[in-house]
């Protein structure tokens, strides 16, 4: 049998040398400054469906990108072709491109003094290499656990297991050269349940960790997926009403993601955020304290330095409802007259933008059960779909599904309704926060309650 391991390439030297060579050529071509990102990775993913293998995907990728400055003019380009000829052409094309755009006085690399000098180990890399057959078995176990929980689970969109590992090298003409490795292991399953009338519902559950040994068991993921799917059977509409809404942790994390977009330096200087001009102001309830922590050990968003080489840190974004900090890279910082917060996010071939590292709402004192118990009549929302959020105004209107709360108890499942409000009001109306914070992604939140929103239904 053919072997397919997900061994990480150990090309540290090659990538660093390549970055150095690109910077050198850029300088020789007259560039006043430049930075290079080079990345490589391996990925192996397995999908099974109804326990049979559905798809195996094996991938090895590499890419290098350069951003070149001629004074205040700049451009970026990238390629996956690492031949010398192609890399030289990349630099030359980028120089030509940079000369064609307009001067932007705010553009430039971060100051030399802002760049990272130490590189903490953030526990984001695990060299474990899983044999294909083991990954197939893990995906099968996840799906089997979901299919076996209840006879009403009749079908499945499949389960998967992914493992990936990669390395990123960043260098610039200030003499910065840094690199880090990371890995991730994840599994998910989407079971389908059928009710007595033939109505189908699907839900899913997943787990993702930097280290294989920390990943939840396939059985626990499968059972949770089945539980979430079964509770949707027999869902109906409710009538249009204004009630309290309890967001489960994943939906609450979505709300924190909306908040993170609104505090991104780019949205603020462009005027496309509903939080323009609100720094230092009260933007949420006293229960709203939000951190962005790039140094969280083992975090899915942890990295020693950002997309420009600036060290990551723990930033207090919101404290007891007061907006304490935006999330910034050096460009958006300059536009707003502020220093970078180490939140430059960089896709290999593009100029930086702002991204979160590990952003979370700090837990409150209520158990999720106590939050549900507090609601006489309202919605526990477990799914939101669509793109009905206007970040400029904060207007919010999304398709929702969940469970109806009656006298503090979860009763029947609800679907084909919308919830609507405005993010500005919603943040201020958070009146309960749970104690159940668990990191399941780069953005996390405990359960939370919003005092009142509009439900449109029948």
């Amino acid at each position: 049998m053919t072997s397919m391991s997900t061994d990480v390439t150990t090309n540290r030297h090659t990538l660093t040398a390549l970055a150095g060579e690109l910077l050198e050529r850029a300088t020789r071509q007259g560039a006043s400054a430049a930075d290079v990102v080079a990345a490589e990775g391996d990925n192996f993913s397995v999908q099974v469906r109804l326990t049979a293998v559905d798809r195996l995907t094996r991938a090895r990728e590499k890419r290098a990108g350069i951003r070149i400055f001629f004074g205040h003019r700049s451009a970026s380009a990238s390629t996956s072709d690492f031949s010398r000829e192609s890399l030289h052409r990349l630099v030359d094309d980028t120089c030509a491109l940079a000369k064609a755009v307009v001067e932007d006085p705010m553009s430039g690399l971060p100051e030399r003094s802002q760049l990272a000098t130490t590189f903490p180990d953030l526990d984001t890399y695990d060299a474990t290499s899983l044999a294909p057959d083991l990954q197939i078995e893990l995906a099968r176990r996840t799906e089997r656990a979901a299919l076996g929980l209840d006879t009403r689970i009749t079908n499945s969109e499949g389960a998967d297991f992914n493992s990936s590992a990669g390395r990123i090298v960043l260098g610039n003409t200030h003499g910065f050269m840094g690199e880090y490795r990371s890995s991730s292991f994840s599994t998910s399953v989407s079971p389908i349940a059928t009710d007595v009338n033939g109505g189908m519902q699907r839900d899913s559950w997943y787990a993702v960790k930097r280290k294989f040994a920390r990943l939840e068991s396939p059985e626990s993921v499968g059972h949770e997926a089945a539980r979430r799917t079964l509770r949707r059977l027999g869902a109906k509409k409710v009538s249009t009403c204004r009630v309290p809404i309890v967001f489960d942790p994943d939906m609450a994390a979505g709300l924190m993601s909306n908040l993170s977009s609104a505090v991104s330096g780019y949205a603020l200087y462009k005027g496309t955020s509903f939080l323009v001009g609100q720094l230092g102001q009260k933007i949420g309830s006293d229960l709203l304290t939000v951190y962005d922590d790039g140094l969280l050990q083992g975090g899915l968003g942890s990295r020693p330095f950002d997309g420009e080489g600036v060290p990551t840190r723990k930033t207090v974004v919101v404290e007891r409802g007061l907006l304490k900090s935006y999330l910034l890279d050096s460009y958006s910082g300059r536009k707003l007259g502020l220093a970078s917060t180490g939140n430059a996010s960089r896709s290999v071939g593009d100029s930086p933008s702002v991204g979160t590292t590990n952003l979370y709402l700090t837990p409150g004192s209520w158990t999720p059960d106590a939050i549900i118990k507090s609601v006489k009549r309202g919605l526990y929302v477990t799914e939101l779909i669509g793109f009905g959020i206007n970040m400029v105004t904060g207007d919010y209107s999304r398709g929702a599904a969940g469970l109806w709360i009656e006298n503090g108890e979860l009763t029947y499942p609800v679907e084909e309704i919308t919830i609507a409000g405005n993010l500005k009001e919603m943040l201020k109306n958070i009146d309960m926060v749970g104690d159940d914070l668990v990191f399941r992604g780069r953005i996390a939140s405990p359960t939370l309650r919003i005092a009142e929103m509009m439900i449109a239904g029948s």
Partner: protein
């Protein structure tokens, strides 16, 4: 450089010998089909904000995806290096799923062919212009939008072009290639008045050249539309909440069909019986006024292709005929497993992704009603002209799409503009509530991108003005 007008294997530095070698590797007993997808893609993007064209980005990617299928199983591998050795490694990985000994089927001799259609002739579709011309286009557009009204405070615009050369080599012995241009211009305006800030967006494109945007000052029209929408939203009132009649304007509101119907008719979900439409073939799923097609053969459209990403010519597929569900859209794997016709809808984002059944241009054919009469027929409801994105849950059929420009209809008259709101409905029955269809079929401007399974592909939609008797509108006013 990928400036060829014809896609040839030699473009990728491989020979027919190399591919025969790779195909022989995947020629094991249980593999019933295999293909190699060579792709070279060049993207260029310039964007402007605050009156400055400050971002210019160019990316070049090239690689090969190797796939083998055995029954329902797919083995897939890709590489961004294309050497004989890389092809061999990818083929090894792809055939892993078969777990069977070497087969003895002969690998057929390769037949080169070219797609029969030329939907985007290179003399019209090449968007290869100097960066300076792109920069000038964006600058003029910015001036135009600001000239319209002093309340326009910021203009953001981007111009993106993609030039893709693909060659598909199949275990059936086919070698066929295509050159696929794509361009898009997008404008966003921010209007501000007394602390009230609003956004408006407009854009367009297709498999067309740079000249398309300057013809009859089309790019200035985009700027005007984006500015108009932002200014209109300054006086928008809260949207209503609840069930009501909704009139959808023609064009981009066709996203309704894409979400409510289109995804649910993709063959993969139906083969697995996970779609709300799985058991509804030849049954009524729409009013008899509704005939809906997916058509990848319309010249110059964003969703059109000479061939799909498996080398199959695209076609026009009737999905719903006078309200009756007639067919699914298919790729090779699902057509074979389900024993249904191949419709040329096997599409992939790039060489790093596997083909899936995907839509091309999905639209409803024109009816007979006068659009004005459709509006007049509504006592109290919503008139929705422009939309942002949409989403669907394939399994329970619930879909949403979000209006970005909408008005109240009161006593048959279009009155106040309302804030954006999400509309939610149930795919298998929403079109049974279509009671009037206009004679004004319009295709969208060419801005749609569809996401499925993490893969994005360009698509088109279209719609005449229609009346839906009832749908839930997710506003804030009860």
């Amino acid at each position: 450089m990928t400036t060829e007008s014809h896609a040839e294997l030699s473009h990728f530095g491989v020979t027919e010998g190399d591919i025969t070698h790779a195909l022989r590797k995947v020629n094991v007993r249980d593999v019933d089909y295999a293909d190699l997808y060579f792709e070279s893609c060049r993207n260029e993007s310039v964007s402007m904000e605050e009156g400055l064209v400050k971002r210019a980005v160019k990316s070049i990617s090239q690689g090969v995806g190797v796939r083998a299928t055995a029954g329902e199983k797919t083995g897939f591998a890709y590489s961004d290096d294309i050497t004989r050795r890389d092809l061999e490694l990818a083929a090894d990985a792809a055939r892993y799923i078969a777990e069977s000994p070497q087969g003895n089927r002969p690998v057929p001799a390769a037949r080169r062919s070219v797609p029969k259609r030329d939907l985007y002739p290179m003399d019209r579709a090449r968007a290869d212009v100097a960066t300076a011309e792109r920069v000038d286009l964006l600058s003029r557009l910015d001036e135009e939008a600001r000239r319209i009204d002093p309340r326009i405070k910021n203009v953001m615009a981007s111009f993106n072009t993609e030039f893709k050369v693909v060659v598909v080599v199949t275990s059936e012995g086919q070698i066929v290639g295509d050159v696929q241009p794509l361009a898009r211009l997008q404008v966003t305006c921010i209007a501000e008045e007394n602390g009230n800030r609003q956004i408006g967006s407009f854009g367009g494109g297709g498999r067309i050249g740079f000249a398309y945007f300057t013809e009859s000052d089309r790019f200035l029209h985009y700027a005007k539309e984006a500015a108009r929408q932002a200014l209109l939203n300054l006086r928008a009132v809260e949207a209503p909440a609840g069930v009501m009649p909704v009139v959808l304007d023609g064009g981009w509101p066709g996203i309704l069909l894409h979400e409510a119907i289109g995804h649910g008719l993709e063959a993969d979900f139906n083969r697995r019986k996970t779609s709300a439409f799985s058991s509804l073939l030849n049954q009524r799923v729409a009013s008899e006024l509704c005939t809906i097609v997916d058509d990848g053969t319309i010249p110059l459209r964003r969703g059109s292709l000479n061939m799909d990403d498996e080398g199959t010519p695209t076609s026009r597929t009737v999905l719903i005929e006078k309200g009756i569900l007639r067919g699914y859209i298919t790729d090779k794997l699902n057509a074979r497993l389900m024993g249904i016709p191949l419709t040329g809808n096997g599409r992939r984002e790039d060489f790093q992704s596997v083909p899936l059944p995907r839509m091309t241009n999905t639209f409803m054919l024109a009816g007979e009603s006068d659009p004005q009469d459709i509006i007049k027929s509504v006592k109290r409801g919503l008139y929705a002209v422009s939309f942002g994105g949409g989403q669907v849950d394939i399994t329970n059929g619930k879909f949403v799409f979000s209006a970005s420009e909408a008005y109240l209809i009161e006593d048959g008259q279009v009155t106040k503009p309302v804030k954006g709101a999400t509309l939610i409905g149930n795919g298998p029955d929403i079109l049974t509530k279509v009671s009037m269809v206009g004679h004004d079929l319009t295709l969208d401007e060419g801005i749609g991108t569809c996401g499925k399974d993490g893969q994005s592909v360009p698509v088109g939609v279209g719609l005449p003005t229609i009346r839906i008797d009832e749908i839930t509108v997710g506003g804030t006013q009860g």
